[in-house]
Amino acid sequence: MILDVNGYFGSWPYWPMKGTDPNAILEKMDRYGIDRVFLNSLRGVFTDPEEGNAETLRAVESCPDRFSPALTFSPYHPGYEHFISLLKEKQGCLLKLFPLNHSYQIHEEPRVEEVFNLCGERKIPVLIPYRLMMSWRLPIMNFGSMGGVIEKFPQTHFILGSINYLFELQTARSLLRRFSNTSLETSAMMAYREVEKLVAEFGAERFIHGSCIPLQNPAIGPLKIKDANISDEDKEKILSGNLLKLMG
């Protein structure tokens, strides 16, 4: 089974991109054997998290056996109270944050802290992408303050997403080493033998498959795990087992 923790749908503002509606995503999922994707609407990233969440939930309702919701929020959006109610009510979702796009700092922000506490209580994993997709054109997060955030919420599980190599991976490794409530999502890992090296260092339990469908070619996500020189058991953990365990 292949689960994908990092999917999007909707309009891509920066250049023309085909196949970003849920039906086209389903076709690609079938082509590459991806059973389920956690989706969030790009509208929620760029214009309005509340409208984006509503779109996300509609997309999931249209195909609940293949899609799961990744909800998002901004501490400065007027619908914050409504978002808290939604987070308390929804089952099987994850939280995906875009501080760069929503113009806030992830640390020392009371509403973000309230949400992290709630995610910890309800076992909702928090995915924080380092970048929207692996493109050198897009801005990147500063993960320098992530250690303090992760340390402050030991009951909450953080998934660090879209991290590539060298310096940025070094920061992520440091966080993995220090905090057991942290995993790495794999969509931007492109370096030679990176999956093997990371699994040898940290164990397969710390990695979760993501493809960044449909912004990135979804063939690559599963391939980098399947082609890695690691055991079948480790591959299964990364492709589905670890996320299933996190979601309870």
Partner: protein
């Protein structure tokens, strides 16, 4: 059949890679790569003469699998290096020139680089240019007969990931080719390049040992283009370019 137009050998602390010929052959065998065009890291980042001497020795046992580029970090070392470059092509079977742009420290289109570009054009060998699309345009205006392979087709930090700019440059100048290797796997990127400039102007590269060649091959094979177009990208185009010198 696969010919990889972008492979590195040697050592780099900056890139955290340390690979000899056997490492590369092992990786190529795993990914199904028949031939690799290889550039030396020592020449690229430390000492031009030493690096090119090292690669000459390193590939000597693998000439059926490895084709060396002569690599320079700048044209400012002058006549001796220019003479060496010609000698390595005519006497030692080097079949390309590798140049690297790191603005503002070193630019590939500065006046000192021009004699090397002109010499490569005279020798009818390709130039692998790690650069922006705009720099390739500039060189093409000055030496229209040179054969430029735009490394990463803009998907590198120096070019701000702007593959649209590289494709536009290739559309303007028929001597510019696009090398597909990079950390970016943007949905529709290969299809766009093929549509704009034709599959005849797109070349497969891996950036081994930095990036995973299996994923880079899948970038081509899993794109929505015809098998004939994939074959051109994976080997047909670079094989054709290598024949221009008349010694293949």
């Amino acid at each position: 059949m696969i010919t990889d137009c972008h492979v590195h050998i040697g050592k780099s602390n900056w890139l955290q890679v340390y690979s000899d010929a056997r490492d590369l052959i092992e990786a190529a065998d795993h990914s199904g790569i028949d031939r690799m065009m290889v550039t030396d890291l020592t020449a690229l980042i430390y000492d031009i003469e030493e690096g090119n001497r090292l690669i000459r020795e390193a590939v000597s046992d693998y000439r059926d699998r490895m084709i060396p580029y002569y690599t320079i970090v700048t044209g400012r070392h002058g006549k001796k290096i220019l003479e060496d470059f010609e000698r390595y092509v005519t006497d030692y079977g080097f079949r390309g020139l590798k140049i690297y742009s790191v603005p503002p420290l070193q630019l590939i289109d500065d006046p000192y680089m021009l004699p090397f570009i002109e010499k490569a054009a005279e020798l009818r060998i390709p130039i692998l240019a790690h650069s922006t699309g705009a720099e390739c345009e500039s060189l093409s205006r000055q030496v229209p007969e040179c054969i430029l392979l735009n490394a990463h087709m803009g998907c590198c930090p120096q070019a701000h990931g702007d593959w649209h700019a590289s494709v536009a440059a290739a559309k303007k100048f028929p001597n510019i080719y696009l090398d597909t290797t990079s950390s970016s796997f943007d949905n529709g990127m290969i299809e766009f390049a093929v549509e704009e400039v034709g599959a005849e102007r797109v070349l497969y590269g891996s950036d081994l040992p930095l990036l995973d060649p299996t994923l880079q091959i899948a970038k081509v094979t899993e794109s929505d283009i015809t098998q004939e177009q994939k074959n051109l990208i994976l080997h047909g185009n670079i094989d054709r370019i290598l024949k221009l010198r008349g010694t293949e």
